[in-house]
Symmetry: C2
Subunit: 152 residues, 2 copies
């Protein structure tokens, strides 16, 4: 694409595609696929007990807001977790998109004010100390969408 | 995410997440959703007759390889197109991920050499004069994956 940049983040505070969440059955195998195929390396791994996932973040590129775009590989840790249910219904594949903002509460309020349902009761802990909300996929053209504010 | 950057593109020539392809039934409605919800604007629209899609590219952010990350909204133009079949099976949602490279033929050869099936007989026309290949989703953890080289 060679067109001139278009200003973004005019309303919502969104300044980057932060990550793509990918559901997998075997995290280690998925990490090895992305490492050996593309050269992406794991920058961070953790278990998020609330969401019932073991996950790894692989950095793809830096972004012009000072952040980065990552692949987030997600393996369920229990059969009743959302990612386990996703795998049951859809098999492995893209689970969600996450847009980065410097103020997730403000962005969620803006987006919620435009009729998009924001799930839960406000921001909760995401990867590596980040704060996140999820938006209802039915209000987002079938795309489970996360808004994320990095730790700092 | 606050970890130090990890070098990427060590093997495959991949330097960015170029775009996320999103299948929709009504391109104009989808464009309006992303504009009014997040402030993303259309930078480019076209019809790709070979792939049977009408599409719009919305810029999300710039990337540190000098490119950008886009959302690519895809509406089928005929019922036998791959995107129409995807909508029939899955409904609206994320259709594919596209990784950017400066040499799609070389990247496809590298990736193909690691046992990932590269679809078709070499690069073909993508959005805005780009050259693209698709990789078999069964070899990519359920993710339909595109490699893309921008026009220039």
């Amino acid at each position: 694409m060679s067109e001139a940049p278009v200003p973004t983040g005019l309303f919502s505070g969104i300044t980057r595609l932060d990550h793509v969440g990918i559901a997998c059955r075997d995290l280690d195998a998925s990490i090895e696929f992305y490492r050996s195929t593309y050269g992406f390396e794991v920058a961070h791994e953790e278990v998020n007990e609330e969401q019932g996932v073991r996950e790894a973040m692989l950095r793809v590129n830096g972004t012009d807001d000072g952040g980065a775009t990552w692949l987030q590989l997600l393996e369920p840790t229990r059969p009743d977790s959302p990612v386990a249910k996703f795998l049951e219904r859809h098999g492995e594949g893209v689970h969600h998109l996450a847009f980065g903002t410097s103020d997730v509460a403000a962005s969620a309020a803006e987006v919620g004010g435009r009729g998009v349902r924001v799930l839960g009761d406000g921001p909760r802990p995401g990867t590596a100390g980040s704060s996140i909300v999820f938006l209802h996929p039915k209000d987002c053209g079938g795309v489970l969408t996360e808004l994320v504010q990095s730790a700092r």
